[in-house]
Symmetry: C2
Subunit: 388 residues, 2 copies
Amino acid sequence: MRDVVVVGAGMTRFGKHLDRSLKVLGQSAVESAVDDAGIRLGDIEVAFVGNAMAGIVQGQESVRGQVILHAFGLRQIPVFNVDNACASGSSAFHLAWLSVASGAQEVALVLGVEKLYHPDKAVSYRALASATDVEATPAQAPDARIFMDLYAAWARSYIERSGATVDDFAQVAVKNRRHASLNPDAQFRELIDAADVLGSPLVSAPLTRLMCSPIADGAAAVIICSAERARRVGSRPVTVAASVVVSGADPAQNGASSVARAAGRAYAMAGVGPEDVDVAEVHDATTPAELVALEELSLCGPGQSVELLRTGALELGGRLPVNTSGGLVSRGHPVGATGIGQICEIVRQLRGEAAGRQVDGARVGLTENGGGWVAGDTAATTVHLFTT
Amino acid sequence: MRDVVVVGAGMTRFGKHLDRSLKVLGQSAVESAVDDAGIRLGDIEVAFVGNAMAGIVQGQESVRGQVILHAFGLRQIPVFNVDNACASGSSAFHLAWLSVASGAQEVALVLGVEKLYHPDKAVSYRALASATDVEATPAQAPDARIFMDLYAAWARSYIERSGATVDDFAQVAVKNRRHASLNPDAQFRELIDAADVLGSPLVSAPLTRLMCSPIADGAAAVIICSAERARRVGSRPVTVAASVVVSGADPAQNGASSVARAAGRAYAMAGVGPEDVDVAEVHDATTPAELVALEELSLCGPGQSVELLRTGALELGGRLPVNTSGGLVSRGHPVGATGIGQICEIVRQLRGEAAGRQVDGARVGLTENGGGWVAGDTAATTVHLFTT
């Protein structure tokens, strides 16, 4: 396997784009990534497209990626439509990495794209519920709340074992919103305080609305290529040091240990340890999930995330800034695009292009993205490590 | 890239399985393939699942593969859901091949699975129509006929340039049904004659119903691994000599030339020529499409398929038996499973396990699978070559 680098990254702002189609969003992100890479559209040899819910929301199945890419002239290359619920984008990235790392292709495009807002809210709920086994889901509860009930149970369990408080969960939301206020691509940018978070409507105790990721529309794209190719064109590459996808929890452990398994393999693959990570984007579908993820990623010891949070280590300027983009809760969570949005943020950080939210001297970045819930297991968990 | 071999193949009968769920069909195919490979379920390190229409037909999106595999205990491995319309199965196979060829994984499962029969026929039609750009499809014609109109136009054009007759198209159906009569896994096995084909209802002139592939339910699975691993366990491996996926027609040529491009690359990759092919499974979504495909695959010269057909070369016992399984028209066409069904047939032929429909001494086999239609281009075309 040869070295693979990211040479281009581009995304739309995440948010409500009722007037912009999947085609328009996808084109915008791809063209930004292509411009950023300094290549031509015709240099792309293969495309991997992550999308989870266009079937339900837009009625487009089967050839989602081709429909988007052909609309602006990207034809005649193999296109693979990859679906893994909220981890669709990063799963597509993994396969693109494999394609270039193996030597099969030289230049690959990864596009994550999703539109969840729909005039009929029931459509959006049904789309989100599709990330579970619909046959096993009670017909009377086919909406997004089942996920939040799971996250709420994990949050209560985390409180018991770590001493975290509901105020801590609010402080994660405040921190990520502060980061988002510095990110022009984020969905929600107005500063909030803990009272705002705690005073927002209860979703599933102890989670309030502002502790939960909103729905969003958006697209994000990256261009990857071999390291040799990047040297030839003089790009500013960011190396893909590890790409790992796993599925399922370890029955002997708690339900979230797929993250730990993926992280362990990623550190081994990259030859770096958690102590080397300078900046991380993690899957904060809810704010307590961010704290749990940091421990599973071994970025701190068991139960120690709270201390990192309380001492400001997770903030910009702290020892380990987390979710500098604003995270799922503030940058937004357009399901199939989320994983690529995370990668765009890390690429910008490692290149020193994150402007007002730049992590000084960041050289090692991590992304963690999770998707789906089937029979007690996480359907897909991905961990990626990037280095300069 | 290292050598990859198929060590196990299994499938359900293709046909109408109203009483069997995707889970039941998938489990049956996977367990057959695992038994055939002589491995344990736990030896599988990664799974690629091809499905195109469960979103519309069963309401299951996002995590289709996980839902099926977890139901019978295949957990904790990365699962990738791959969608490329009628080429979903073979696209998933390509990615699995890449995964093993690159050295990333040792043993991979590919499952193609689909259920198209639905008590409400409109649901099945809508599923088939999803293989196009639904935004560009007239709302008044969202059914399978748009595909058959395209195939009918190609058939008329083929008649003009080759001297083929409508009777030739009927003879392909007769031949493939004869092959299917020898295949216990085929959907339609009763012998038919040309009068039956020509007398069946007109779908889109000159195509009659028996010249068109029916809808079907079914599942097919293969296990692939590295050649070293296969040697260690003493399997009877079939080598994957080439795996190519392309998209789109060449604007300078006619609309089907993606097959020619894919085939050219596949022959180069495998180091074999069309003259070496002993048996082929091609995408006869309609019977004239089989004749066109043989020319695009360079298995004969332009306009010469008809002569092969008329002289019996395409029959069992002839020089180049084509669609010994019965093809899409008689073995059946459960969209996401079709490409893997083709591969199962070639594996059986190259192992000498095709019983009454065995091609004597077959050593080189080819599969060609196509899917989707977007803005004048084929969304995905795959060509695979297998050798003993």
